[in-house]
C-alpha cells in the first residue's frame, strides 16, 4: 500500500513555480532521503503534506486519503521534526510533552510515563521539570524528537533531525531509524549532510528547482550518474561544478 502518493503536485508563489509537477509514490517501510539545494522546494513539499500550506494544484494522498478534503485525522499517524523547530520554550519539558501528547489524543498519564522513559533514555531526565528556554541546543532537539515520537507514528517527517546532537545520540537515532523501517514505519528524511543520507536511506529523491531530478536507491543513482559518493551525485545533478573555482577565489580575497 502507498503511504504517500503525490500526483502532479505544483505550487506557485507569485508567478514562480516552487514545485513543478511532482510525482511520488512512497511504500511502507521506506526510508526516503529527500535532498536538494536551498530553496529547491523540499520544505514546501513537507509542509503541503502536513496541511500547513494550501493553494497547490495536484493531488496529495497520505495513507490513501486525499488531504485536501480537510480531514485532519491522518496527522495522528505522523511525527514531524521541523528544521530549527519552534517550541513553546517557557514551558517545562513535562508540560510541553504532555500538551503535544494531548494534541495527539493521548491521556496525560500515558504521555507522562512515556515521556519520562524517553527523557531517561535520551539522558535529559534531570531537566524534565525545567523550562525549555534554559536547555542547550542538543537538549532542546531531543525534546523536539521525543515530542514527535510519543504517539508511535507510522510516518515520520524529519528535517535535519540530528542538528545539535552529539555523536553518541546520532548513533542512537540512526539505529532507531533502521528499527523503525523494519517495523514498517516510513521515514521522510531531509538533510544537507550527504554522508548521513547516503548511509541511512534505502531510496533517495533529489529535488532541484521544484522538480524531481533523481529518484532511486543510492546504488541506482551511482550507476546513472558517474560519481562514487552522494555528494558528487548531488553536485552533478544540480549542475554545480564551480566549487574549486569559488574556493580559489575565496582564498584570493582572504589573502587580499
Amino acid at each position: 500500500m502507498s503511504i504517500i502518493k503525490i500526483t502532479d503536485l505544483s505550487m506557485k508563489y507569485d508567478s514562480n513555480f516552487v514545485l513543478n509537477s511532482i510525482n511520488l509514490d512512497v511504500k511502507e517501510g521506506e526510508i526516503i532521503g529527500y535532498i536538494g539545494p536551498n530553496g529547491a522546494g523540499k520544505s514546501t513539499t513537507v509542509k503541503i503534506m502536513l496541511g500547513l500550506v494550501t493553494g497547490y494544484t495536484g493531488k496529495v494522498e497520505i495513507f490513501g486519503e486525499n488531504i485536501a478534503l480537510g480531514n485532519v485525522g491522518y496527522k495522528k499517524r505522523i511525527g514531524y521534526v521541523p528544521e530549527a523547530a519552534e517550541i513553546y520554550d517557557n514551558l517545562t519539558a513535562r508540560e510541553y510533552l504532555s500538551f503535544i501528547g494531548g494534541l495527539y489524543g493521548l491521556s496525560d498519564n500515558d504521555v507522562d510515563v512515556k515521556a519520562k522513559e524517553l527523557m531517561k533514555l535520551f539522558d535529559i531526565y534531570d531537566f524534565y521539570d525545567q523550562r525549555i528556554n534554559t536547555y542547550s541546543k542538543g537538549m532542546r532537539q531531543k525534546v523536539v524528537i521525543i515530542s514527535s515520537l510519543l504517539h508511535n507514528p507510522d510516518l515520520l517527517f524529519l528535517d535535519e533531525p540530528l542538528s545539535g546532537l552529539d555523536a553518541n545520540t546520532v548513533m542512537v537515532i540512526k539505529e532507531l531509524l533502521s528499527l523503525f523501517s523494519q517495523k514498517g514505519k516510513t521515514i521522510f528524511y531531509s538533510s544537507h549532510i550527504m554522508e548521513v543520507v547516503e548511509k541511512i536511506s534505502n531510496r533517495i529523491i533529489l529535488i532541484n528547482k521544484g522538480q524531481i531530478v533523481a529518484d532511486g536507491s543510492f546504488e541506482n543513482l551511482k550507476d546513472q550518474v558517474h560519481g562514487s559518493t552522494l555528494e558528487q551525485i548531488f553536485n552533478e545533478l544540480t549542475g554545480f561544478n564551480q566549487h574549486e573555482d569559488i574556493a580559489k577565489n575565496i582564498l584570493a580575497v582572504i589573502e587580499g
Binding site: 502536513l50 496541511g51 500547513l52 485532519v72 485525522g73 491522518y74 496527522k75 495522528k76 505522523i78 514531524y80 521541523p82 523547530a85 519552534e86 517550541i87 513553546y88 517557557n90 514551558l91 508540560e95 504532555s98 500538551f99 503535544i100 494531548g102 494534541l103 495527539y104 489524543g105 496525560d108
Partner: protein, 554 residues
C-alpha cells in the same frame, strides 16, 4: 498541571462546542497551555525588573490595572455630574488604557507565529485553533477590563443609588457594561486590523519596533501617572462644564459612548446625541463582522513577521563625529558597534527610554512647581533643575552591560582585544552621543531662553558633572564588559546602590549650588571639573573586567 477557573467554567458549556463541532478536549488543552504561558510572561506594567520566580505575573498585573482604574476614574465618577462629560471622559480613559495594555502586553500573544507550526502539524482542526485564539484573547480582555473598570463601576452604582435610587443605578450600570462589551469588541478588531495594516505596508521588524515604542510610552505614562495622581481631583473639577457638541466630536469615539447615557438618563433628544448612540452600536458591530471575515488574512500576514528589512548603513555625518570623539581606530570600531546595539536592542530601549523620558520632563516639572511666573523664575537658581537630566545615568550605565544576545559576547575574548577600557569608554560615549547629548542640548537651549545667557557657564559645569557622574555610575555597578550579561539578571538587589549613587549626585549638585553663591567661582570650578573629567575618563575605566564570571586584567 494547573487548572484554571476559566477552563472549569468552559467545562460546563462543553455542549456549545459540541454543537459547533469543535473538539472540546483539544480546545481545552490548547487553552490550558496558553494560560500557563500567560502567567509566565512578565507584563510591561509589572516591569521586567522582578526576578523570574514562579509567580503568576498575570494576576499581579491585574492588580496593577485595578489600581490604575481606581486612581484615574473613580475621582472623575465622584466629582463630575454632567453625564455626557462624565461618560466621555471615563470611556476615553478606558479606551486609552485598554488599547495600551493590549498592545503592550498582548501583542506577543496575538502575534505568536509558533501556533501554526506546533499545533497545526498535529491532528488538530484549524477551526479549534481559531476558537482557542478567540477565547484566549477574550479571557485576557475580560479580566483586564474587569480589573480596570471594576472600581469605577462600583462607584457609579453607589453614586446613583444614593442620588436616584436603586433601579436607576442598576440600569445605569447595565448600560455601562453593555458599552464596555462593545468597546472590547472594538478593541480586538482595532488592534488586529492595525497589525494587519502595518504588516501589509511594513516588515515584521517595523511592527515589533512600533510595539516596542508603544510599550515604552505606556511605561512612561504609568510612571508619570503616579506623579500626578494626587492632583486628579483638582484637574477633574476644571472639566465639569456644560457640554456642547462640536462637529469634530463625531470623529472622537469616546463621545459616542456618552451619547446613550445622555439619551436614556437625561431624556436629551438632541440630534447629536442620537447620532452618537447610533454610531456606538453600529461601528463596533460592523467592525467585528469585517474582523471575522479577515481572520484568515491575518494568519497569513503573520508569516511576514519573521521577515526583516534592510537597515540603513552608518551615516557619513555620523562617521565625522565618530572620528572626532574617538581617537584610535579600535575605539571608533567599538563606538560604532555600541551605537548600533543601542539603536536595535528593544529590551534596552524598554528599560531605559522611560527613565529617559522622565529625565526630559522632570527639569520642567520641578521648575514650574513653584509657579509659572517667568520673570521671577529668570532670576532664580531653578536652572539647577537641569541636573535631573543626570537622573537616568545610573539606570543607563547599569543597563549597558546587558543584552538579549549576551552569549555573542564570546567574540570579545576570542579576538585579540588588548584593552577593554577602550570598549567601555566607547560604549559610554555612544550612549552619551545617542541619547544624553541631544536631550541635554535641547533642554539647555530652552533653559537659556528662560534664564538668559548668564547660565551658560553653569550649563558647562552641569555637563562636566554628568560626564564624571557617568564614570562613577559605571564603576559602582561593577566593571563589566558592555552587552555581555543576560537581561534576566538585571536589577537584582541594586536598589541600595541606586540610592547611594543618587546621593553622590545630590552632593555634586550641592557643591555647584555653593559655587553659585559667589558667581565668579564658576570659572575655576569649571576648570577643576574639566581636569576631573579628563582624569576620570582616562583612568576611571581601567581595571579588572568580568567576562562571564572569569576575571581578566588589562
Amino acid at each position: 498541571m494547573k487548572d484554571f477557573l476559566t477552563l472549569k467554567i468552559l467545562d460546563r458549556f462543553q455542549f456549545i462546542f459540541k454543537k459547533l463541532k469543535v473538539d472540546y478536549p483539544t480546545l481545552r488543552k490548547i487553552l490550558q497551555i496558553k494560560f500557563i504561558m500567560d502567567s509566565r510572561r512578565v507584563p510591561v506594567s509589572v516591569g521586567r525588573t522582578k526576578k523570574q520566580a514562579d509567580k503568576d505575573f498575570f494576576h499581579i498585573s491585574l492588580l496593577i490595572y485595578a489600581f490604575m482604574g481606581f486612581f484615574t476614574m473613580v475621582p472623575l465618577a465622584i466629582v463630575l455630574n454632567n453625564k455626557m462629560a462624565l461618560m466621555t471622559f471615563i470611556f476615553g480613559l478606558i479606551m486609552f488604557l485598554l488599547l495600551m495594555t493590549v498592545i503592550a502586553d498582548f501583542s506577543s500573544v496575538l502575534l505568536d507565529v509558533r501556533d501554526k507550526s506546533i499545533i497545526l502539524t498535529k491532528p488538530v482542526n484549524p477551526k479549534v485553533l481559531t476558537v482557542a485564539k478567540f477565547i484566549h484573547v477574550f479571557r485576557y480582555l475580560f479580566l483586564v477590563t474587569i480589573s480596570l473598570v471594576g472600581p469605577v463601576m462600583v462607584t457609579l452604582l453607589i453614586k446613583y443609588t444614593y442620588l436616584e435610587g436603586t433601579l436607576y443605578a442598576l440600569l445605569f450600570v447595565l448600560l455601562f457594561i453593555f458599552e464596555v462589551v462593545l468597546l472590547n469588541l472594538f478593541i480586538i478588531v482595532f488592534t488586529t486590523l492595525l497589525y494587519l495594516f502595518i504588516l501589509r505596508f511594513f516588515s515584521g521588524e517595523k511592527l515589533k519596533d512600533i510595539i516596542n515604542y508603544i510599550q515604552i510610552f505606556m511605561t512612561l505614562v504609568i510612571s508619570i501617572g503616579y506623579q500626578i495622581i494626587g492632583r486628579a481631583f483638582e484637574i477633574t473639577e476644571i472639566f465639569d462644564i456644560e457640554f456642547t457638541s462640536k462637529w469634530y466630536h463625531y470623529l472622537l469615539m469616546p463621545f459616542w459612548f456618552g451619547g446613550p447615557f445622555e439619551l436614556f438618563f437625561e431624556a436629551n433628544y438632541d440630534i447629536s446625541i442620537i447620532i452618537y448612540t447610533i454610531l456606538i452600536i453600529i461601528i463596533p458591530i460592523t467592525a467585528f463582522i469585517i474582523y471575522t471575515k479577515s481572520l484568515g488574512t491575518f494568519e497569513n500576514s503573520l508569516l511576514k513577521l519573521n521577515q526583516g528589512d534592510k537597515q540603513k548603513p552608518y551615516k557619513e555625518k555620523r562617521k565625522f563625529i565618530t572620528n572626532i570623539i574617538n581617537k584610535t581606530p579600535e575605539e571608533r570600531n567599538f563606538y560604532r558597534f555600541s551605537y548600533q546595539m543601542l539603536k536595535s536592542e528593544r529590551d534596552f530601549k524598554l528599560r531605559v527610554y522611560p527613565s529617559l523620558g522622565l529625565s526630559m520632563v522632570f527639569p520642567f516639572l520641578f521648575m514650574f512647581q513653584s509657579g509659572f511666573d517667568l520673570t521671577k523664575l529668570a532670576d532664580s537658581k531653578q536652572y539647577l533643575n537641569l541636573y535631573f537630566c543626570a537622573f537616568m545615568m545610573p539606570m543607563v550605565t547599569y543597563m549597558l552591560r546587558y543584552s538579549k544576545n549576551y552569549k555573542a559576547a564570546w567574540v570579545f575574548y576570542s579576538t585579540p582585544i588588548s584593552d577593554f577600557s577602550v570598549f567601555k569608554k566607547a560604549a559610554l560615549k555612544a550612549f552619551l552621543m545617542r541619547l544624553l547629548v541631544p536631550i541635554y542640548l535641547v533642554e539647555s537651549v530652552i533653559f537659556t531662553c528662560i534664564f538668559g545667557i548668564r547660565i551658560i557657564p553653569d550649563l558647562v559645569a552641569i555637563f562636566f558633572t554628568i560626564l564624571i557622574f557617568t564614570i562613577i555610575c559605571y564603576r559602582v555597578f561593577g566593571n563589566f564588559i558592555p552587552f555581555s550579561q543576560p537581561v534576566e539578571n538585571a536589577n537584582k538587589g541594586q536598589t541600595v546602590v541606586f540610592f547611594i549613587i543618587t546621593a553622590i549626585l545630590g552632593l555634586m549638585v550641592g557643591i555647584h549650588y555653593a559655587v553659585t553663591l559667589f558667581p565668579i567661582l564658576i570659572y575655576p570650578y569649571n576648570f577643576i571639573l574639566l581636569i576631573i573629567t579628563i582624569l576620570a575618563w582616562k583612568k576611571g575605566l581601567n581595571g579588572k573586567v568580568n567576562i562571564n564570571g572569569h576575571h581578566r586584567y588589562n
